[in-house]
């Protein structure tokens, strides 16, 4: 059942930057689709976030479990936006 829920219904490319795109960028850099897939791989973990804007602070990489650390402020550059996929569940 969990596997069915984890499968997204649709996907679209990001056109402009917003907080959701920033969130998806951070997950996709670490090798995951989105938060749902991350929690499937690491069910026990609470995602570490920056307190002032709730952006993701730290993620484990999908392939090897190494840590990626993210900045306090926006990281996704304009030139990266079109690469980001936004999944709907």
């Amino acid at each position: 059942m969990a596997a069915v829920e984890a499968k997204p219904k649709s996907v679209r490319r990001a056109k402009y930057w917003d907080e959701n795109v920033e969130e998806a960028y951070r997950f996709q850099l670490a090798g995951y689709r989105d938060e749902i897939e991350y929690s499937k791989f690491h069910p026990q973990e609470v995602i570490d976030r920056w307190p002032h804007n709730n952006y993701i602070k730290k993620l484990k990489r999908r392939n090897d479990g190494l840590f990626y650390y993210y900045n306090k402020e926006r990281e996704c550059l304009d030139k990266e936006i079109h690469k980001i996929k936004l999944y709907t569940h």
Partner: protein
């Protein structure tokens, strides 16, 4: 008598070739010696640096980072959580790597320092005294690219945690002399576009920004100490 010692004319009408001599030497006082201009002081010339400890540690694989050269974006993958790292050991080592200009050392040092400052919090302040010599060494290379990177790191350092700016004030004597040399090195392009501004590589502007960051975060003694080392600096708070 004078015609007897003069060298032969090479061409009709050409003057005899005068021997060049360094200033203030015995030769310089002889009649037809041409005194050469003094050699360049080379205050702004890049200076060679010794291989850094950072390079040695990196080559040995002693850092808790994944040694991958095809890093996606500009990220380092850490093998250990940064919060659990011994800052007294690793932060000075990463700062030591700021002297490096070769890939991948330069990238890993710069990004490693960035990550450790961004996530260090209270662990940064006690390490400040150990960072001064690496910072001074990096600035002393007088390599413009290295200085620009170091200035950006210094700007990050003063905002990384509370009281770090104030903790740096006693060390201005070590850090600021090089900034004084390069402070006026700015491009006068008239009404042309200076692309180094966009890339934040204009050293004069970067120094001004850094000094202003020092003054803003350095407490009440910061300005007078900066002014002592850099007399041309004007306060960004008082004015």
């Amino acid at each position: 008598m004078a015609t007897a010692v003069a060298p032969p004319l090479s061409r009709k009408g050409a003057s005899p070739k005068a021997a060049t001599a360094d200033a203030f030497t015995v030769k310089a006082y002889t009649g037809n010696a041409k005194v050469s201009s003094p050699p360049k002081a080379g205050a702004l010339e890049p200076r060679p640096y010794k291989p850094t400890d950072f390079r040695k540690f990196y080559d040995r694989g002693d850092f808790p980072i994944a040694l991958e050269h095809d890093t996606k974006g500009n990220k380092i993958a850490w093998k250990v959580e940064i919060e659990k790292l011994d800052y007294h050991h690793y932060l000075p080592l990463f700062f030591d790597g700021l002297c490096e200009t070769a890939h991948p050392y330069e990238f890993f040092a710069r990004q490693g320092v960035h990550d450790m400052l961004e996530h260090g919090g209270k662990k940064i302040l006690p390490v400040i005294p150990q960072l001064i010599i690496p910072i001074k060494n990096a600035l002393n290379t007088r390599n413009v690219k290295v200085i620009c990177t170091t200035l950006k790191i210094l700007q990050h350092l003063v905002i990384s945690s509370e009281l770090v700016g104030e903790a740096l004030v006693p060390y201005y004597r070590q850090i600021l002399p090089i900034l004084n040399i390069y402070k006026m090195k700015n491009l006068n392009s008239g009404d042309g576009i200076d692309y180094s501004q966009q890339k934040r590589e204009n050293i004069g502007d970067l120094i001004q920004e850094t000094l202003e960051a020092f003054e803003r975060h350095g407490g009440e003694d910061a300005f007078i100490n900066i002014k002592y080392m850099i007399p041309t600096y004007e306060s960004c708070i008082l004015n």
